[in-house]
Amino acid sequence: MRRGPSLFNRACVFAGLAFLYAPIALLVAYSFNASRSVAVWGGVSPRWYVALLHDRQMLEAAWTTLRIGVLSASVATVLGTLAAVALVRSGAFRGRLLFSGMIYAPLVLPEVILGLALLLLFVALGLPRGFWTVVVGHTTTTLCYAAVIIQARLSTFDRSLEEAAQDLGCTPLQAFLKVTLPNVAPAVGAAWMLAFTLSLDDLVIASFTSGPGATTLPMRIYSQVRLGVNPEINAVSTLLIGLVTIGVLAAFFAQSRSAARR
């Protein structure tokens, strides 16, 4: 029998969570501050959210970011699923080491290097930089995260189910689509969510691969932050955090419910 957490254990966990969440809580609280100063509490007011509604540049950036996020997450999830299948199902194929290297390296490689490399590619190809180049950039980095999440689920999936489906007359593709895919669906959903939030969040790759007319929300926030703290940024950040939290919790509960069913 496992001993429960001691007082020291509880204190460590509590302090760690407080450290992680206190800055976020303060950010959210101050987005409702009526005063312009960050340090002075002037009462509760929605004025920064109202100001946000009238900030055309910010709204445009948000719309661009959402479209890039949905597109790149969708492509990345499809490619990531295929990559996960390849990693789990195939033993040795030509270039396997290179392949797994290309999947794992972008997870840890500094974004500045990835951004620079992608930019040089677009320049060499003579592609004008803008919306689509950011989509390609985000797809490239997030597909690796998607592959890792789906692969973890796929490696615990019982293959004999798929073989049974084939014995009953399914083609391999049908067996995959009708048996395997529904089984790993929660992981696929979680992978899409992660790819989407990573895309919403990215500053560095977007800055390198974007061009005029395709400013994303993080790029806009970054240029504002460089000028100083601004309560409107708190408001837009709060909305983003709320959106991501709801999505992540939904993906988490979907995954744990289906895990409990098995």
């Binding site: 100063s37 299948v85 392949f99 794992y104 992608l118």
Partner: protein, 295 residues
Amino acid sequence: MRRGGLAALAPFLWLGVFFLFPFLLVAKLSLSDTALAMPPYAPRIDWSQGLAGVAAFLRGLDLETYARLGSDRIYLVSYLSSLKFAAVATMILLIVGYPIAYGMSRFPPAARQALLMAVILPFWTSFLIRIYAWIAILKPAGILNAALTSLGLPPLDILNTDTAVYLGLVYAYLPFMVLPLYAVLHRQDETLLEAAADLGATPLQAFWRVTFPLSLPGVFAGALLCFIPMVGEFVIPDLMGGSGTLMLGRTIWTEFFANRDWPAASAVAIMLLATLLVPILLYQRRQARLVEGGG
């Protein structure tokens, strides 16, 4: 199996074109010279001259950019200071993250799931926004100093110093350290500690001689997962550091966007990549072994 190989085709091609090939371009550009043109580098391949154009292009490549980096002390200083920031921050993360991961692993399973979620959630919420939150706290007229002043304490001027960079690194990368540590710690067999106690070990001795050595794979995983990206970190040193905070990620950014020196930015990127190659290969081998071991 052929089918698995077939599934690899699309992602393989995608990563080949958009990940692997661009690195060859970075390497090529680091051997080029800057030029007052758009794009601002020379030589470029003159395809209209066929093979002669390619040959002229190859003759134009040289190590001049690297020599330039070697002769300017600022690159060496920022290289060493990147490694120092990343190494020290990794040590702090281990010291801070270990007790948290250990504490989490002591909770009953249902509570552990909730705690795990609580640690993962900040990782999903915007990096940039979390750094921004610290700026509002640390800036001279910020929340921290307002609190200190109201308590009658002298204000602290932390923002735009190295201390702030360390704080930002530890804050942003804490989930990356806690998760791999937790993954090894919560699987550890409790009876080992009982055996150690039966053999006369104090709890502290049992920890150092049983728990900690068994958790070393998690320690290495967490350290690599934090160290590698931190060496090239851009956002944290740029927003929380001072003008004297030199880190390679920031150097690449400045060379590229401010100085428009694309060859220098590429050469710094190649240097950074060469340095990180060994840790990245170590990390990849670990990941591959995890997959083959059944995930």
